[in-house]
Amino acid sequence: MQRTGEVNEEKKTWTEEERLELAAKLDAELDEYINSLEKKSYTEGWPEDRWQEEMEKHPFFMKKAPEPGEELSPLMEGLQKLKYGEDENTPEELATNYKEDGNFNYKYKKYRLAILSYTEGIRTKCKDNDLMAQLHNNRAAAHFMLQNYRSCLNDCKLALKFKPEYPKALSRAATCCFHIKDYTQCIDLCEQFLNNNPNDKRILKLRADAVLAQKSLQRDKRKQERTEKKLEKEEEKLLEIILRRGITLELMNAKQKLELNDLEPQLPQIALCKVHLEGDKLVWPVMFLYPEAQQTDFVQNFHEDTLLIDQLIEMFEKPLDWDVKHRYTVNNINIYFEGKNKCSVHTVDVQLTLGEILRDKQFVVRGGTPAFLILVKSSEAEERFLANY
């Protein structure tokens, strides 16, 4: 009891004044201690204005993996060295690490990153054939997801080189061939797969689909070849008939032989109306020129057996839009064509058929388009026109 009282007595002796005095003393001792330490500047810390950026780079706080070529924090760089350094790892360990990285990226659908990882793994050229096969197969899978079917196919084939019995790689290769429409190779790879897995429904279907697609492709090719041959034949017939008619055509580029190019109309208005055959009769695009009025008319399909007069009657049945004085009538016009060397002009007998006119020794068909000039009879314009030749 006395002991207890003794403690109480001692505690009571602390006064406010005494406390303040003690605190001041401790502060002084601390200051003295700090001052005794070596003086150092804060050199490696994060600058105040860029702390968030630096935080992002810290491996514990970063929100996304570094992009290739992106600056790494020293800590991350060190961690990478442990994992990827050639001094710390055998080629097999390296390849395995890269494979795991690739698989991680693949799982999160980062297929391009996955490809880069697998590629680094492949570059180790480690001796483990199974591992190398896996790296190629997995890279193929990433390419497949990016629809890089040819790259995928190449990787599948490389995987199969390292590991000949590799069903995953074989079936993926077959699927790629289907996508690039190499159906022959697709069927061949399917059959290789089925040699060891005869009942695989997916590959059985893929093969059947490839066979059907191949048949359609081949049929379409045959059909196109037949169409082209038919067209070629018709064109030959056309040229033959024109030559047989004794019609003179102006040849392009001073050639000696008539070709289809020589029959292409040069004018936009009739570009699609080439001379063609109806049965064994020629049908021409024909151009009519009105020098006085600076006007042009086109007849798209002029059958060679049609009389020129009949065509003219049809053309002038109603007055031409620009012929306000109604001077151009069938009975009031003359028809001319320009001669072989463009130095002469010849009157056309309108009672003849187009075919007969074209066979005139002086008539030259230019640009696959017979051309005629129309002028009002006994007009001043006609006189001036004729004076030019």
Binding site: C190, E191, L194, N195, P198, N199, L204, R207, A208, V211, L212, K215, S216, Q218, R219, R222, K223, E225, R226
Partner: protein, 365 residues
């Protein structure tokens, strides 16, 4: 006879290469005649020795033995004798006396130089119908059908240049067995589909003919007609294509044909061998037994292919077979009134009459 027994002794006891080869060549020469072969069949020990030498590592010896066995098995009695020897073989002893096993081993061995000769032996062995089931038993003891089909359909399977073409006739012979046909037409696999393209295989009439014969046998099973004519199998395409020539059809007719026959080029030629053409037509005739197949054949414009074939054909048997098909196809289903023609009971007196009519047609010049 004594001379043969002497040779047999040499073959058994002597190890000298030149003596064996000389003796074997003598036996080979003997098998070139029917009398010689008949004589050999009386010496089973000699026949066994030939199987042993077929497995000899010296190529000229094994090759000579193979050629001898081809000649022997070319006769039905020879094939039968070799089968008895094969069946009596003890499974584990080497060299084996099981000719089927030995031949298949050579066929399946990619680097064997005897593969083609062994295919010929197998073709001969499987030809007699009454031996087929027993041979199938021997085959299945050592190999799967999948392996054999894979070897046949793989391009350049054999690395020494052997082609395995005679496996075609082997399949044709074996497909006389319902057991083998069930395998070929297993809908959960892809077997007959891999054989179909060979109906147009220009490099070998043997392979082509063998596969066409196989397909013809498959058409006897009417229950499979509908499956065989589905787009994913498309048997009709492969039967008609060899019968189609360079004739042109308009777009409407082309669109009705199987895809493989649409817009054929002017360079298209028909199957040149009349026996193969006849088998193709007989297969089509079998398909005409069922209503479902008849309707598909009509729908696929089979008639115009047969019409053009008929104009071109010179062989009497083929012409008759062609007309038989057309006669059925141009009838309506109401006129025919039967789902399966094979279930019709034809009185025996008419069977003979029909056969005689056909014979008269063929023999008329």
């Amino acid at each position: 006879m004594e001379a043969l027994e002497e040779i047999s002794k040499y073959l058994k006891s002597d190890n000298r290469f030149d003596v064996i080869l000389l003796a074997l060549n003598e036996v080979l020469r003997l098998t070139a005649t029917a009398d010689g072969r008949e004589l050999l069949l009386k010496l089973p020990e000699m026949l066994k020795q030939l199987v042993v030498y077929l497995q000899d590592s010296r190529a000229s010896i094994s090759s000579c033995a193979a050629q001898t066995l081809i000649n022997i098995t070319g006769d039905e009695s020879g094939a039968s004798a070799m089968l008895i020897i094969s069946e009596s073989d003890v499974a584990i002893q080497e060299p084996s006396l099981n000719l089927i096993k030995v031949c298949l081993r050579a066929v399946m061995d990619k680097s064997s130089t005897l593969a083609d000769l062994c295919c010929m032996i197998l073709s001969n062995m499987t030809r007699p119908f009454h031996l087929v089931d027993r041979i199938i038993t021997l085959i299945e003891q050592n190999y799967s059908w999948d392996e054999i089909v894979a070897a046949f359909t793989t391009k350049q399977y054999n690395t020494t240049g052997d082609k395995l073409h005679y496996l075609g006739p082997v399949f044709s012979n074996l497909s006389q067995s319902p057991h083998v046909r069930r395998y070929l037409m297993d809908q959960d696999r892809c077997i007959i589909q891999r054989l179909l393209p060979f109906t147009e295989y220009s490099e070998s009439i043997i392979r082509r003919g063998g596969i066409v014969g196989t397909l013809k046998n498959c058409t006897f099973d009417t229950k499979n007609h509908e499956w065989l004519l589905r787009p994913e199998v498309d048997l009709l395409s492969y039967l008609l294509l060899p019968l189609a020539g360079p004739e042109e059809f308009d777009d409407e007719d082309n669109d009705k044909l199987p895809i493989n026959l649409q817009y054929l080029p002017k360079t298209k030629t028909r199957e040149s061998d009349p026996d193969i053409r006849l088998m193709l037509l007989e297969a089509l005739n079998q398909l005409c037994a069922t209503k479902v197949a008849r309707e598909i054949l009509r729908e696929k414009n089979t008639y115009i292919i047969l019409r053009e074939l008929h104009k071109w054909e010179k062989d009497k048997s083929c012409l008759l077979a062609c007309e038989n098909i057309v006669d059925i196809l141009i009838k309506t289903e109401e006129e025919i009134g039967l789902d399966n023609l094979k279930e019709v009971k034809v009185p025996s007196e008419y069977t003979e009459k029909f056969r005689k009519i056909d014979e008269d047609f063929i023999s008329n010049t």
